[in-house]
């Protein structure tokens, strides 16, 4: 059965598993890794949402997260360590980077995003801490509910939670660093 990716699917799966293998070398820095080729259904939906024709060209050139990896780390510094490690792979070309940790989104969202090109295919990488990941999961649940009675209050409270989680992330990273540098 033909997928929306046509003949490219096999190559894409190889690229994904190769990158994941290399990332797994540094497994001590990751809490867990999620990765996938975006399903046909999700792809179709995204094409329609972005008003692109539903074809091979759109999914390979118009949309950048057909191949997606999310790395969740225990500590904040690990996000940047893993980012540098991925960028240093010789077969990886970095197309775009967005640091939503140094530039927090208005709703409180924090993560490190990268769009890579490997053998001509786009790969999207998201790196974040456990705290950021649990927040994003809740926010995703909330944004999927269309009939929210107290939308503004919910958004305000989600932002507060994001900022409190960020504070904990920094405190824990600080404690870890102080111990490692023998100051505590």
């Amino acid at each position: 059965m033909m997928t929306i990716y046509g003949n490219h699917l096999e190559v894409m799966e190889k690229i994904l598993s190769h990158l994941v293998e290399d990332i797994k070398q540094y497994s001590s820095h990751y809490e867990h890794l999620n990765y996938r080729i975006k399903s046909d259904e999700s792809m179709r939906e995204k094409c329609l949402r972005k008003q692109l024709p539903v074809n091979e060209n759109s999914v390979l050139h118009g949309i950048t997260d057909s191949i997606g990896i999310r790395g969740v780390t225990s500590f904040l510094d690990d996000v940047y360590y893993c980012k540098d490690m991925i960028k240093s792979l010789d077969y990886v070309e970095v197309v775009k980077e967005k640091d939503y940790i140094k530039n927090v989104k208005k709703n409180g969202y924090r993560s490190y995003h990268m769009i890579l090109k490997i053998e001509g295919y786009f790969v999207e990488v998201q790196l974040r801490t456990i705290a950021m990941d649990s927040w994003a999961a809740l926010e995703h649940k909330v944004s999927y509910k269309h009939q929210l009675k107290n939308k503004e209050l919910i958004q305000e409270e989600l932002k507060r939670c994001a900022d409190e989680l960020a504070s904990c992330d920094l405190s824990m990273q600080t404690i870890k660093t102080l111990i490692e540098e023998d100051e505590l």
Partner: protein, 213 residues
């Protein structure tokens, strides 16, 4: 904005009420100190204007009792000219400002605006490009973050003092030892950096100081 006007001179209070209502205030009138206390117990006011000379309970005693009720609503006294004692007592008992009779309406309005402006900013401290919201325990610069209660108080001391603060003094204020203090200052430094501020907390010879990095 709701305003309490405690003034026993009926003609004056009626005139003031009309003028203040024109400015958008909701005005409650008390004819003496006892009435003022009753109103303050029932309602929340944004600002209070109190005449000093009032029957049954004078303005100074009234405000003293109000402040004893832990009500910190800003208050302006209307005083007779020349009575330095009144002005001093008024301020000492907890008034924020005073105005001598006869006064220009424009001046009363200007002082009311100034009080309101100051009161709204009570919960926020600003220094350079950082803002610390004491109530929300929120640090804001390029990004925002929430701080713990202790971090918030520590940062507020650092922001409101231009010179160094001794570690001993801070330890006393926050009831924590020097080692814990160091950890909290490290937290603050990392959090200041995370919101995009160039301020750093510097430690030198038993003192801490907030410096522009």
């Amino acid at each position: 904005m709701r305003l309490l006007l405690a003034e026993d001179e009926a003609a004056l209070s009626r005139a003031l009420k009309t003028l203040l209502e024109n400015e958008g205030y909701e005005v409650h009138i008390a004819n003496d100190g006892i009435e003022a206390l009753q109103l303050v117990e029932e309602h929340i006011y944004d600002i209070m204007i109190l005449d000093i000379m009032m029957p049954r309970l004078d303005g100074i005693s009234t405000l003293k009792k109000i402040r004893e009720m832990q009500i910190s609503t800003p208050a302006i006294f209307l005083t007779a000219k020349g009575e330095v004692e009144d002005r001093v007592s008024g301020l000492e008992v907890g008034a924020d400002d005073y105005l001598c009779k006869p006064f220009a309406i424009k001046e009363l309005m200007a002082r009311l605006h100034a009080l309101h402006r100051r009161n709204n900013q009570k919960g926020c401290i600003e220094k350079g490009n950082i803002r610390l919201d004491m109530e929300k325990e929120e640090l804001i610069c390029h990004n925002s973050i929430r701080l713990s209660s202790r971090e918030c108080r520590l940062l507020s001391y650092l922001m409101t003092h231009q010179k160094e603060i001794s570690i001993d003094e801070l330890s006393k204020q926050l009831t924590c030892d020097h080692t814990r203090m160091r950890v909290y200052m490290s937290y603050l430094n990392n959090k200041l950096k995370s919101v995009g501020s160039s301020f750093i907390v510097e430690r030198k010879d038993g003192y801490y100081k907030l410096k522009e990095g």
